[in-house]
């Protein structure tokens, strides 16, 4: 891992020095052990702020929206993991980024650490750094103590089901590609599908009732790339301001439909939710339906591929019109 981190710093410094780009977006260490912040590096000497460790979870692609719009014609370098690359492609398909203005450095990713899983077992005490060493995590405490645990037990659930750990879009790949061994991703959806209508309704009603409408799920989502979100409009006011159950349900269902067919299944919505609403399941249900109706489709894999929900073919299934 350290090697990759050195490479990242080196590349960032070089591309700024050579004037190939005017901005590098990577990760830097946060204030707490589990935090990684997006780092915006504009000067060569700042490149050493960049890090790469199993906690570098934020998807940096989304930051292009802001940065590109404010810098006409300038170029940006960006480090992308597998899920970040899918997000980048989706932004490309949505016309929200310009391929020529972005230099992508691909990072094959063998999964990121879910801090809450470490916390749950008290492994976070005095923890300062987490490193990946093969199939193990090395937990480094303040006193220089080291502890080794099996990595797989502490990865994000979304990483365990990840089907694209190796970036699908890059200008240069850093590091060796990693094996792709995803667990079944629709297990949760299938379980919910088995519930009868009433139970399913009350399950989601209960989930949505916790929503505090912080909009974190929207703000982190690479498919939520609108310049101005409908939920922020005063007129027409699509959504009431009160965080009452029906409005919450309305918000999440509209959001799920707004990202339908464009959700890259990165799972960031679920990760950032402060009240643990399993939002990824909602989006996966739609992905599953699309796959079953129109054939397998993975948003973000190929920006040139026609998206099923916006293409009409005369032989499209129309089960809903047949009684």
């Amino acid at each position: 891992m350290k090697n990759l981190q050195d490479t990242i710093r080196e590349i960032a410094a070089q591309s700024l020095a050579r004037g190939e780009v005017e901005l590098v977006i990577g990760w830097e260490k946060g204030d707490l052990w589990w935090q990684s912040y997006p780092a915006f590096i504009e000067e060569e000497k700042e490149a050493d702020r960049l890090i790469w460790d199993p906690l570098c979870v934020p998807n940096l692609s989304r930051y292009l929206l802001q940065e590109l719009s404010e810098m006409d014609e300038k170029k940006i370098a960006l480090f992308v993991k597998g899920c970040d690359a899918l997000a980048f492609n989706q932004l490309l398909q949505d016309n929200r980024t310009v391929r020529e203005r972005v230099v992508l450095y691909g990072i094959p990713c063998d999964g990121l650490v879910d801090p809450s899983k470490l916390e749950r077992e008290g492994l976070d005490r005095d923890l300062q750094e987490v490193e990946r060493d093969g199939e193990e995590l090395v937990l480094k405490a303040a006193a220089g103590e080291e502890k080794r645990v099996p990595a797989k037990d502490y990865l994000y659930d979304k990483c365990l089901t990840c089907r694209y750990p190796n970036p699908v879009a890059y200008d240069q790949m850093l590091g060796e590609t990693v094996p792709v061994e995803p667990e079944e991703r629709f297990t949760g959806v299938r379980k919910l599908e088995e519930l009868d209508y009433e139970d399913r309704f009350s399950y989601w009603a209960e989930q949505f009732s916790r929503c505090i409408r912080c909009f974190a799920c929207r703000n982190v989502c690479p498919a939520c790339s609108c310049i101005k979100c409908v939920f922020d409009l005063q007129e027409p006011r699509w959504l009431g301001k009160a965080t009452e159950p029906s409005e919450n349900a309305f918000y999440h269902i509209i959001r799920a439909y707004h990202v339908a067919g464009r959700c890259v299944d990165c799972g960031e919505c679920s990760r950032v939710c402060p009240v643990d609403i399993p939002l990824q399941e909602l989006n996966r249900k739609i992905i599953l339906d699309i796959n079953e109706l129109y054939g397998e489709y993975d948003a973000g894999v190929d920006p040139e591929q026609e998206a099923p929900l916006i293409t009409y073919k005369t032989d499209d299934p129309a089960a809903f019109t047949e009684s």
């Binding site: 810098m71 929200r96 101005k228 699509w238």
Partner: protein
Amino acid sequence: MRRIGVFICWCGANIAGTVDIEKVVEESKKIPGVAYAGEYRYMCSEIGQDMIRDTIIEQNLDRVVVAACSPRMHEPTFRRAAESAGLNPYLVQMANIREHCSWVHKDEEEATRKAVALVRTAVAKASRSVELFSQEIPVERRALVLGGGIAGIQAALDIADAGYEVDLVEKSPTIGGRMAQLDKTFPTLDCSACILTPKMVDASSHPNINLFTWSEVEQVEGYVGNFTVTIRKKARFVDEEKCTGCGDCFEKCPSKVDSEFDEGLVQRKAIYVPFPQAVPNVPVIDKENCRWFVKEKCRVCEKVCEAEAVDLEQEDELLEKRYGAVVVATGFDVLGLEEFGEFNYGKHPDIITSLEFERLVNASGPTGGKLLRPSNQEPPRNVVFVQCVGSRDKSRGKPYCSKICCMYTAKHTVLLKEKYPQSQAYVFYIDVRTGGKDFEEFHRRAVEENDAIYLRGQVGKVFPEGDKLLVEGVDSLSGKTVQIEADMVVLAAAMVPRTDAPEIARLLTLGTDAHSFFTEAHPKLRPVETHSAGVFLAGACQGPKDIPEAVAQASGSASKALGILSKETLLSDPCVSKVDESLCTGCLMCIDVCPYHAITEKTIEEKVHGEVVKRVVAEVNEAVCQGCGACSVACRPGAMNVKGFSNEQILAEVDAVCL
């Protein structure tokens, strides 16, 4: 505060029979913004319209809600009434308390409650409506007719006679269509070719008609008054200018294939004219079966052509043409009988469809009109006709009645008797349907004067035995099983649209029913119009029809097309999409979902933090947009808004109806 007037119509007893009008008036007056509420027995009458006009002036109303029938009926009426009082016509909103309420509810209290809710909803929408203005759009004063059968020919002739130029596009090498294949026509027994060919000649010689045979429409863009159509003129490999129509080429051509025109009963050559009276009388080379194109050997036709008209290097031509109106007359096909194994169709030459019978009995057909059994070229004695093969058959065929089979089968029995007085016709039928002028009389003639035996029942099995066909059926009236030794079995296969109908529908954004017949705009009152403005229907592409119906509909379509062509400009409907560029994110999904190709992208410049940056947004061509709202639905940030049906209005309606 708005000053909205609510006018509630009784529609005689249509609405007042189920809805308490007084109560609706009373409740309407309580809705905020409503300055006036009144009722009248027939709001669409002159008195009703005057009442609206006078009340707008007297009460100084700024919005109008008419609670009456569907806006498809009288919205234009009430818009005009408002306009006569000086109000912008788009400030009128209708609440449909007839189709959506009184006609579908029985309970007065419930119906009244719903009527009030519908009025409240319409008031909510009206209070957010804004003045809209039509634009004048120029009209390309030429017409396109798709399909060169009798319907297409008639439509083209009518438009051309009125003085407008028409392009008649036909997929096959000649015009004439199905009618050219027929022998006699019911109920008068006119010779089909004798009445059709003069029309074909008229069409080809008319100074205002341009024939494009062996041609297909490839792309359609634009809108009423201004269609741009790409026509693929397929390579004929014969120069139409040079060809003298002598026929030497097909005499000498060595390749033979089943003749489409003769329903596969005989063979034609790879270079061919479908039938002697074909228009134009210029052969085409069927590339798939020509030795030169398949094996690169032959070129006999080229060698024998004295006029040097054969041109094997010819290529397809793409022509881009502009039209103000389009008539679609693509005709019908006969249902494939693969599902109907009991008839053994295709397994024995004497088991044929009715269309094949037409060819056998036709003087220009394979037997020179002698009507001989295909198996042994002998005259038939017993002929069994089976009705409703695939028609009125939900499980294996089509649920609808093909309409013409009862009559053409009666005709076939008469023709059979004429040719062979000793012969006997048997007809298996479900019902005999003879609705039409002189139709019943003709059917009686088949039964009484020509001794056709009609058996009410179905055929279970047809199978060859010796040189005969054994037909086993049930006569449901006597309850007995019937076995007939037949020389020929004629199957009245269902009428279906052409196989490429869905493709034509896609090109012209037409609706189709479950069987791919094109859908008219209204089953009763707009039977030749479609939901695509400027596109009209003629003939069997819209549903099973006989010749006079197809011709009448063609003339109807022509007159509708002329209604457009006779104007220099059309007024556009202002209820079209509009982009709010400040909200548009530039994802351009709207372009993909727009069925009318009305949306394009454009780059705008705007200032962000003091710097000028460019970004892409959507742009609507208001003349092309039909206001369908697909873009508005696809638009996540709500930047696409249909004028007259804005997001604000629809949300207000939802809020009002949920109260």
